[in-house]
């Protein structure tokens, strides 16, 4: 894993000290709220519905055990004993007190963490495939480049006041687990015909009130040009992005309004000015960062482990968990374990301090000291030996972390919604909880198979509803919560934006509606058809018919 150098450590410490002074001045009355608000936002501190909320960055979703233990102790000492993992691989604390935040930030700095650039109109935490460095289908570990981008974008003076926030995601595998087509910039590691590794550069994707699938503006960018090319994109955006209208300020609108071809030309023109200059990435520099992400010393193991296989045959619950929560690893005899933070009836993405400690302990002992946060609000132990899977499963299950539902109907993304968020129009979490209770039969969940339900409590789409196979959007109708349903969205390499099915459902009726849609799918699906395949084949009509005929 990457370790802070002197520069990183110094700037984080410096920022904590600066913010401590700003909080003191605020409490002493030397700063007004209007003056203080942008300063606290630069340090990830929001004022939400009930209280302050602190958003802490987990760069490219990678954590060590030590860092996870710190997140747990902060939850216990300064918050209410839990934290919430988000779709941008961050963690949010829902109840910190302003007077404590400088101390929290000091504690985070001890483990090389911070809340810088988790808010505001700047380049946010760079996200990456949560199986990076472990996935069997990976070309190269995307975290090497995520870290290079982090260093370039942290406190970048030119990009501290962009027209709007800016999100970058990167994946090193052809199976896109980082939703790169729905980010301001998405990077997909590609190999060209000569066998060299570089990036496909995708620009102008996003969700929110205007969902857009990103456009590829460069099919292959050699590695050494990564930063100069990104800088060129950011410069064009910084100059031409709209600052007069909040809703038209993201780069996706600029790309749409200028046209992708023209936008690409503008970027190329800018790039010619700065290419092969100070931002050029020498091979030695890439190698220096690469060394931090060198794979752990995997043992030489047989791909087939009889004890593990026997346990699967012996124990149906274990077999079920392996089927949904365990993924192929690049090293023989190892596997990636996804820890579901979606137990039945609980808030998606929440973890208690005790649960974080359980995960930290397992990671230290049995996963080469590594943990990942996924954009689907789960955690990952990336490097577990097949022979250790049973122990991992038993420990997880004993701590409410063993739900075998990853990728299934109850593995939903849900934004905090009206239970926590100042912007929300409707609740999300209790809708997710009720859906997970409706589909409490795990056998049925496994029969239904892969199905992604995503729920947002307002049009800002933090719950990614546009890209759910089934999307749910909470709206306010004369003070009452209603839920609009979309079908056919997808965040992966088959990127698609869901289409609205029909009139919205009340809070009471929405779970019935979801069940009706799932039932229709089960009736109509052909062999091996996933939800979106069936939907593409039969269209919305059969779903609508069943759903609205009853009403």
């Amino acid at each position: 894993m990457y370790r802070y150098d002197e520069f990183d450590a110094a700037f984080v410490r410096q920022r904590v000290k600066q913010f401590r002074g700003q909080v003191e001045r605020r409490l002493a009355g030397e700063l007004s709220e209007d003056e203080f608000k942008p300063l606290r936002l630069m340090n990830g501190l929001y004022l939400q519905l009930h209280a302050y909320m602190l958003r802490v960055a987990v760069p490219y979703g990678t954590l060590s055990s030590r860092q996870m233990l710190k997140l747990a102790s902060i939850a216990r000492d300064y918050d209410r004993g839990y934290g919430h993992f988000t779709t941008r691989q961050n963690i949010q604390y829902n109840w910190p007190q302003l007077q404590d935040v400088p101390d929290i930030l000091d504690e985070l700095a001890e483990v090389e963490m911070h809340a810088i650039q988790t808010s505001g109109n700047c380049i946010r935490n760079v996200t990456a495939d949560h199986f990076a460095g472990a996935a069997a289908d990976e070309i190269e570990d995307p975290r090497i480049y995520a870290e290079i981008i982090r260093q370039w974008s942290s406190l970048h003076p030119e990009f501290s006041f962009l027209p709007r926030k800016f999100k970058i995601a990167i994946t090193g595998a052809p199976n896109d687990r980082a939703a790169v087509r729905f980010h301001d910039i998405g990077l997909q590691v590609r190999r060209n015909e000569a066998g060299e590794v570089g990036f496909e550069v995708i620009v102008g994707g996003g969700l929110g009130r205007t969902p857009v699938i990103g456009t590829t503006i460069r099919k292959f960018l050699p590695k050494q040009h990564l930063l100069s090319y990104l800088e060129a994109i950011l410069r064009v955006y910084n100059q031409l992005g709209r600052r007069d209208n909040l809703y038209k300020a993201r780069i996706k609108i600029l790309v749409q309004q200028t046209g992708a071809e023209t936008f690409k030309d503008l970027v190329e023109d800018e790039w010619q000015q700065i290419k092969d200059g100070a931002l050029d990435l020498p091979a030695e520099e890439i190698e220096r960062i690469e060394a931090y992400f060198a794979p752990p010393a995997f043992e030489t193991l047989e791909a087939n482990q009889p004890a593990f296989e026997a346990r699967r045959f012996e124990d149906r619950d274990f077999a079920r968990w392996v089927r949904s929560n365990v993924t192929a690893h690049k090293a023989p005899g190892y596997a990636c374990v996804t820890i579901s933070l979606k137990p039945e009836g609980e808030a998606p993405g929440d973890a208690s301090a005790e649960q974080m400690e359980v995960v930290a302990d397992l990671a230290e002992r049995l996963s080469c000291d590594e943990i990942r946060v996924t954009h689907e609000q789960n955690l990952v132990l990336p490097h577990v030996k097949l022979t250790d899977l049973a122990e991992v499963w038993e420990t997880l299950a004993a701590n409410g972390l063993g739900t075998p539902n990853v990728g299934l109907v109850s593995d939903m993304i849900a934004c905090p919604g009206l239970d926590y968020c100042n912007l929300a129009n409707a609740r999300s979490i209790p809708v997710a909880q009720r859906i997970s209770q409706r589909f409490s039969d795990l056998k049925k969940q496994h029969e239904i198979g892969d199905l992604k339900i995503k729920i947002s409590g307002c049009i800002n789409a933090c719950g990614h509803h546009h890209v759910g196979h089934i999307g749910i959007l909470g709206v306010d109708k004369k003070g009452e919560e209603f839920y609009q349903i979309t079908l056919g969205g997808s965040a992966d390499e088959n990127a698609a934006v869901g289409k609205i099915l029909g009139p919205a459902f009340s809070y009471d009726d929405v779970v019935d509606a979801i069940e009706s849609i799932v039932d229709t799918y089960l009736e109509l699906r052909g062999d091996g058809e996933r939800f979106n395949d069936t939907y593409a084949r039969v269209g919305a009509a059969p779903f609508k018919e069943k759903l609205y005929a009853a009403a």
């Binding site: 002493a28 009355g29 519905l49 009930h50 209280a51 910190p96 007190q97 009206l418 239970d419 003070g479």
Partner: protein, 108 residues
């Protein structure tokens, strides 16, 4: 003669230091309990209450004050919107963490 406003209103904010949700009371203090809040239908009185809130902002006691509508049912005040009901009672999703500053496990 003061103007009558049909709507029953109270003033709410968050404590600056702690962030807790609070309501302006009859005695000019800020309480974590919605039912201790001062409610009025009088537009001028409401203005005076908002001015009081501005003073509390200047005194660094609270932040982000605003007026909100309530209804009175058998003498008990209830927020009109779902948002304010949740804001007053805590998230509906974690019964174990519900409550305001008065029930917080951690001493201030």
């Amino acid at each position: 003669m003061s103007k009558k406003n049909d709507k029953l209103k109270i003033v709410t904010a968050n404590r600056l230091r702690e962030g807790d949700v609070v309501y302006l009371t009859d005695t000019g203090t800020w309480s974590g309990h919605l039912n201790q809040s001062r409610a009025t239908r009088d537009a001028e009185e409401l203005e005076a209450m908002l001015a009081e809130a501005d003073e509390a902002v200047a005194a660094r006691e609270i932040v982000a004050p605003y007026e909100m509508e309530v209804v009175e049912v058998d003498g008990i005040l209830q927020p009109l919107s779902t948002r304010e009901i949740i804001r007053a009672a805590g998230p509906t999703v974690r019964a174990d963490y519900r409550g305001n500053e008065n029930q917080r496990s951690r001493a201030a």
